[in-house]
Symmetry: C2
Subunit: 259 residues, 2 copies
């Protein structure tokens, strides 16, 4: 997390040093021994054990076999809570169900967090989901319908840094070669109300996304992903208008739910 732009050279306080321990638990390395943590973080022995005690007592990590640690139950409970209390999910879920039932697709609700997007709810049609986007999976900000649907609805001042940062990605997927080209594309997206992407994130998958606005400002995106071979122009048009309409309805509910 952090700022995401510069690697944050400010000196960390003790709270941040504790939380830094959690940063190390990744898919590539989900378990750590105290010794490894000490070495990696440069903390002394008593300090590290003190931190581990805090994290263990609050359930964020748990001991596993062999004196190692993994993410703990608190993480699971907090996600459950977040799932149950997120007004975006509550509002979007019926639409995801409806859309995924109507087409062979995966229907997603994706939140935007400054420098990335994160799937918060996902339903796949029982038949042949072209790709899986489970809750919790981060998405790139430089490519794909979701990112574009959000960028298209940002005020120019907020878009420009993103355009600059993801210029290479945006160019490679054909959004535009210059900032002007890109802004022009985004303007068309804005006018259409949906962004469509062909195989930008998952090869062979078509993404159709519309932004969810809160007080006119994009906070999330509703996206339908279908397999490329199913995707003729007619179907894409139809789904586009359904997605646009559903996102609009969710946005209308947003203002009263303080998403």
């Amino acid at each position: 997390m952090g700022s995401g732009i510069e690697p944050k050279l400010v000196k960390a306080n003790s709270q941040e040093r504790v939380l830094a321990v959690l940063d190390l638990f990744t898919e590539a390395r989900p378990q750590w021994s105290p010794e490894e943590l000490m070495k990696e973080l440069g903390y002394t022995r008593p300090t590290l054990y003190r931190y581990l005690k805090s994290l263990k007592d609050s359930g964020f990590v748990m001991p596993t076999r062999g004196g190692r640690y993994a993410l703990g139950p608190r993480v699971v409970e907090m996600d459950y809570l977040s799932r149950r209390s997120d007004p975006l999910i509550a509002t979007a879920m019926p639409h995801l169900e409806r859309l995924s039932a109507a087409h062979p697709c995966t229907a997603l609700a994706v939140r935007w967090y400054g420098d990335k997007t994160l799937c918060v709810a996902s339903i796949a049609s029982s038949v042949s989901p072209v790709s899986s986007y489970p809750r919790g999976r981060p998405m790139p900000m430089g490519r794909g319908a979701i990112a574009r649907s959000i960028m298209a609805f940002l005020p120019k001042q907020r878009v420009m840094p993103l355009v600059a940062r993801y210029a290479a990605d945006l160019r490679s997927v054909g959004v535009g070669d210059t900032p002007e080209d890109i802004l022009a594309t985004l303007k068309r997206v804005r006018r259409a109300g949906v962004a469509i992407a062909f195989g930008e994130v998952t090869p062979g998958a078509v993404g159709i996304a519309a932004p969810i606005l809160d007080a006119g400002y994009p906070i999330a995106s509703l996206c339908i992903t279908i397999a490329g071979q199913h995707a003729n122009g007619k179907l894409i048009d139809r789904i586009s208008s359904e997605v646009r309409e559903a996102a609009w309805q969710i946005s209308a509910a947003a203002d009263m739910n303080s998403m």
Copy 2:
């Protein structure tokens, strides 16, 4: 979290004070304003804002509309990571799928965390799930097949405190009136290899659970929940042996995966 037994009167350090903020986010009250947090926790204004900044920068909370805060994206990502890296889930999932396909039931993998159990994976048959136990939902330790399947396999030294603590619950569901009765029941469960409970957690639901052992010590439980009306003795016997066998297989894999 915490110790769970006595309400922890030790003075909290700054890390625990920061994490205490997260404790307030509950299903009943998933959003808090800084003002409310200050009042509830007794922190001064600068302190609370400092804490919020740390939590916000690390993604544990996020600002929502109206200057309030909710649990943030980090929670969602960490749960995703935990889901993907938990060897228990990886090992148990095929069994959950198989069992839920074979019977109209909900199949659960439930981890044990000292003073409570927590569902970490759950699959419901498409037809009439009698009750929903999604990932993240805590379960009581005093009642139900899951708790009993774990207690039955604990060494006596570890059972006794639990027996004392949950005496009232255990009595009310008919496990036994005295510690001796309860221990006798647990001994029978241990011999049978499965615990069976009729409507102890959810009225009308039958739970059949077998412990998952790591190095002979229970760490989790595999449970099948079926609707009471489907549950004749024959079926319960059959499912019992299937659950026992599946839990055994998961246990056998446990030792090599440092669950």
